[in-house]
């Protein structure tokens, strides 16, 4: 008989969001792994079993105690990978996978009964496709990567006739011990103070829409990729400013907001991995956090100054990333201050990986990273290749034209500022205003 365990802060926050909203399907995430050939269903199921049984943060369900406190209870049942034959290979894999995933994304998991993941192996004549739908309470982006990588390691061991690898995942109790340790709690307390202080200094937080309309249907996505030559200029600008291409993109996003609101203090929401300690980095679970990234820019800021400021603010944010955004909002509410603490949310995804299953190459397609009530920019950073950005929008706040305008404005800002790093922010904003607003 297993003993139920308490939840971590991140799990608790996700559980609450799911429970209070009454719309668990909003927290479903999905990914499709496209195999560039055929794979063994049996090895894949064996691999899943091995990974699943090595982690109690995966093999679990989330029950409620008598006093309604959520708890994690081990659930040894390994999900079956549901196999389906396809008559032909899809022409457009992404559209096909999105359509296939749609009904599953729209179906909520029962947190207290189900394993919070469903896997489908779709077998076409030429290629196989593994479609994974999971609840965000089970895995975040990093957790998903850790899960997939482990699955791959096991599969490759089986394909080479080697024994299955020993997976050294951090277990729930170890994670709880870390999070209840004195140094961790002291750091969190300090983080609370720092974040509240930052927000006290923020004049006003703007996004691309002033609407507060709630999510009524799934987010709509617009995907765009930078042209190769523009991406090279962005990389070069990163070299010049001694930062990375992600800082240049964040500067462009900030410039696009300045153009719209003519307010030079910009606050973005930044998805933080929130895994610092080694045990956290070895746990397939949810841990990520979204925190405000306040940027006190000025009309005279050039690209180098903006990128350096963003870089140092992200460094400062890392030190406070363990304090949950939900707790921060609660603090603001108690003090009678604005609950609007973040503008557009940005998720930097440098986890690109295309592992081989035996000799079969793969391509990963992220179909849904959950639902946002405003706008979320998922920036896929793919080694030397140009970045791709998914603009996930709440359709109650943004129509297609709005999203296209935001995309064009940000891409244009990146091109203009990277090409002429010495331009001042006020000049970049003015060019954008004349062209797009």
């Amino acid at each position: 008989m297993h003993t139920p365990l308490p939840l971590t802060d991140s799990q608790h926050a996700m559980w609450l969001l799911d429970t209070i909203s009454g719309r668990g399907e909003l927290f479903n995430v999905a990914e499709c792994l496209e195999f560039k050939g055929k794979i063994s269903a049996s090895w894949l199921q064996q691999s899943l079993q091995h990974v699943w049984q090595a982690s109690d943060t995966l093999a679990c369900r989330f029950i409620r105690s008598d006093d309604y406190t959520p708890q994690l209870l081990a659930n040894d049942t390994v999900p079956d990978i549901i196999s389906q034959e396809l008559a032909s290979d899809p022409e457009d894999v992404l559209t096909f996978a999105q359509n296939f995933a749609k009904p599953h994304l729209a179906t909520p998991f029962d947190l207290s009964k189900d394993a919070l993941i469903k896997l489908f192996l779709l077998r076409a004549p030429e290629q196989d496709y593994l479609l994974i739908v999971a609840h965000h309470l089970l895995l975040d982006g990093y957790g998903f990567g850790l899960f997939s990588q482990s699955l791959n390691r096991c599969y490759n061991a089986l394909s080479k006739g080697k024994p299955l690898p020993k997976l050294r995942f951090t277990q729930q109790q170890q994670l709880l011990d870390l999070h209840n340790s004195e140094p961790f709690l002291a750091k969190q307390k300090q983080a609370k103070e720092t974040l509240n202080q930052w927000l006290d200094e923020v004049p006003e937080v703007n996004s691309y829409s002033a609407s507060k309309a709630d999510v009524a249907e799934p987010n709509k996505r617009l995907t765009a990729t930078f042209e190769q030559s523009i991406w090279h200029t962005i990389q070069s600008a990163a070299q010049v400013t001694s930062t990375t291409s992600s800082e240049i993109l964040l500067a462009a996003i900030a410039a696009s907001l300045v153009a719209q609101h003519q307010q030079y203090h910009v606050t973005l929401g930044l998805v933080m991995m929130n895994r610092q300690a080694v045990p956290e980095l070895s746990c397939p679970c949810v841990q990520s956090n979204v925190l405000p990234l306040p940027l006190a820019l000025t009309p005279n800021t050039d690209l180098s100054t903006a990128a350096t400021l963003i870089n140092s603010q992200i460094k400062a944010l890392k030190k406070v990333q363990s304090y949950r955004v939900e707790s921060l909002k609660r603090d603001r509410q108690k003090q009678g201050k604005s609950l609007s603490i973040i503008g557009p949310t940005v998720n930097l995804l440098p986890f690109a990986n295309a592992p081989k299953y035996g000799s079969v190459e793969t391509i990963s397609h992220i179909l849904s990273a959950g639902t946002t009530d405003d706008i979320m920019l998922q920036i896929h950073l793919l080694a030397d290749k140009p970045a791709t950005v998914d603009f996930d929008c709440n359709v109650a706040r943004y129509d297609d034209t709005d999203t296209q305008n935001i995309q064009a404005r940000i891409f244009s800002a990146a091109k203009i500022w990277a090409s002429q790093p010495k331009l001042m922010l006020s000049e970049v904003a003015e060019i954008l205003r004349q062209k797009y607003l």
Partner: protein
Amino acid sequence: MSIPKLNHYPLPRDAELPQNRVEWDLDPARAVLLIHDVQHYFVGFYGEDNPLIETMIQNIQALKAYCYEHGIPVYYTAQPIKQGKHERGLLSDMWGPGLQDPAQQPIVDALAPTDKDVVLTKWRYSAFQKCDFEQQLRDQQRDQLLIVGIYGHIGVMTTAVDAFMRDIEPFLVADAIADFSKEEHMMALNFVAKRCGKVVSMSEILGTESQDLTSLEGLKAHILTLIDCEEDEFDEHESLIDYGLDSVQVMNLISLWQQQGIETNFIELAQIPTLAAWVELLEERKED
């Protein structure tokens, strides 16, 4: 019809350079340096303060100093102003009237030729066309040509092809050339390496070592530039995440290793986030 406005891009790193077919060794007694078309007019299309041009000029300055030190003659090419229809030929159809303003004709100040240098008048893509450049090389018994300057895939590459056809060994210095774009830059390097010359880097010529990002020392030196930590306080067994190395920087490292044929990924590196463990992993992957 004129040259478009040009942007900056990162110059290729050593690990990105194409494999050469030939094994020529640069010999100072046989070589000549050609600084190709670095005139105000052509440089102007990159705009002011262009980082690509600034780096290229710094590299050419260093190379020129090396050539002076090793007795390697330095040549320049420069196009004349207001060429007539007959002089300019088909170039007018492709690029319009070309250089008109006398102020735009000189070589840029940072690379201004000295009395020791020879400036050739340039008429066509190749520096050898309508000019006695080949004869000047023969007279000095020199049959190796180091080529730097702009634009990589036009005059620089064509001069390399022409040199090859005259039995003069062309060496293209990959990070002392600028082009319309990185794609065109790499196209020129690939073509020369595969068909008519040797592609070399500044570090190869100057004998300076480029950082080996798979060795403990090389990787440590690189990582120290990314984090806030003094060298004597750095411990290779401590977590790099605690030192402030972030996920995007890790991804950049992954792509640098990838250029050397070493495959890693963020998740596996994050689980063993120390320099010592990474070097061990890289060693294993090299053996694979």
